[in-house]
């Protein structure tokens, strides 16, 4: 029993174990990299380095992050192969693309 709990805690605490992680940064109103290719199952972490808030919105409405203040992050697992175009809902000229491969 104890072992099981310990194991669950371990798994909860390290959900990314064995999974890929990638990063998109926001600097000067630009998502970098503008296009990011990842394998299905990858967690992408968006981090805002600007002095103004930004958010991350799927152009097709699939997801929307909260507003990210300076140095705040938004993480999401991309598990379905395909192309996702996203933008900043506050500054919609800011756009990026994620290509999820099988």
């Amino acid at each position: 029993m104890n072992l099981r709990i310990a194991l669950s805690i371990f798994l909860l605490a390290a959900p990314a174990y064995g999974a890929e992680e990638a990063k998109v940064t926001i600097d000067n109103f630009v998502f970098t990299p503008a296009t990011l290719s990842v394998k299905a199952g990858t967690t992408i972490v968006f981090v805002n380095h600007d002095d103004l808030p930004h958010n991350v919105v799927d152009a097709k409405g699939g997801f929307k992050s909260k507003a990210l203040d300076t140095d705040e992050t938004f993480a999401r697992v991309f598990d379905k192969p395909g192309e996702i175009v996203y933008f900043c809902g506050l500054h919609p000229r800011m756009r990026g693309k994620i290509i999820v491969t099988p």
């Binding site: 600007d50 002095d51 507003a67 203040d69 933008f87 506050l90 919609p92 000229r93 756009r95």
Partner: protein, 306 residues
């Protein structure tokens, strides 16, 4: 002092950088802007003040204390030779739409002892259910996501909301529902009624690559085209900018919090860091004076300096 030839451009440039409040004078239906400190009282008309982009909650180097500069803006308004009838706030009241930011703003705004009319900026609608906090506080008599109109001393004021449902790659957005409301709202007004429109993002396109414009703004301007005097006030770009096109005067007010760069002078429209001792020359308020049957609406922009 000035080289007469070089100066118009320079003066405009300086204007674009000095922060201020705008005093609008509406005179014979044509608005004139002037610096708050130098504005003259309108005869037989009235004046109102526009403030914008107070960004309460912002705490970065460009202005670690926007509450203090907002208070200074209120003091400027209080010191006007003629008491304005009301204040219009053209959005970005808060930085992150947090209840405490709205509370802090409201607490200070009450000290002005003047009515405020608001439209939201994009920073005021980033709560979990976009715009809910704003509407609860300021949207009592508004339609849809916060648009409304009212009449004051023969002038028709229209508050438009262009910060919701922004589309990927786009700019500000009014949307079909609001445009239909606007058409209906203006229908009963005679062409000689002076119109003052106020909104957050410029209705005219100032810098498309920075999103400084409104996608469907031209449709609103078309609805306004039959009126003899139209004044469009906005914020969002944290600098003075003015344009007259036919009978439409466009005016962008300064922020009371921090300046932003002029289009094309920086890699992004983020806050412009200026030496602390210069900050107040980049911030300000605008005063609008309307004098019936005589001269145009006057807009006076005043910085917080001095």
């Amino acid at each position: 002092m000035f080289d007469a030839n070089a100066t118009r451009r320079q003066a405009l440039k300086c204007m674009a950088w000095a922060g201020s409040g705008l005093l609008w004078t509406i005179d014979g239906g044509v608005p004139k802007a002037s610096l708050v400190g130098s504005a003259q009282a309108a005869v037989g008309g009235f004046s109102m003040v526009q403030i914008s982009d107070s960004h309460i909650g912002f705490n970065k180097p460009a202005n670690p204390d926007p509450t203090a500069t907002f208070m200074e803006a209120l003091r400027k308004i209080d010191a006007l030779p003629k008491k304005p009838d009301f204040i219009i706030h053209t959005g970005d009241i808060t930085h992150l739409s947090k209840p405490k930011e709205f509370d802090d703003f409201d607490q200070l705004a009450r000290t002005a002892k003047l009515d405020f009319h608001y439209v939201p900026g994009e920073h005021d609608v980033i709560d979990e259910r976009p715009g809910e906090a704003f509407l609860e506080r300021y949207g009592k008599n508004s339609n849809g996501k916060g648009w409304y109109s009212f009449d004051h001393a023969g002038v028709h004021f229209v508050g438009l909301v262009n910060v919701h449902d922004l589309k990927a790659g786009g700019m500000g957005n009014l949307g079909v529902e609001q445009l239909a409301w606007l058409a209906d709202d203006l229908k009963i007004k005679t062409a000689s009624t002076p119109i003052v429109v106020f909104t957050h993002i410029p209705l005219w396109i100032i810098a498309a690559d920075w999103g400084w414009g409104t996608q469907d703004g031209a449709q609103a301007l078309k609805l306004l085209s039959r009126f003899a005097s139209v004044t469009v006030l906005n914020g969002h770009i944290h600098q003075l900018m003015q344009k007259v096109e036919g009978h439409v005067t466009f005016h962008s007010a300064r922020s009371t919090a921090f300046p932003q760069p002029a289009p094309g002078t920086a890699p992004s429209p983020g806050p412009k860091l200026v030496p602390a001792e210069q900050l107040r020359s980049f911030l300000g308020v605008s005063s609008v004076t309307l004098t019936r049957g005589k001269t145009p609406i006057a807009i006076t922009d005043t910085t917080l300096e001095g």
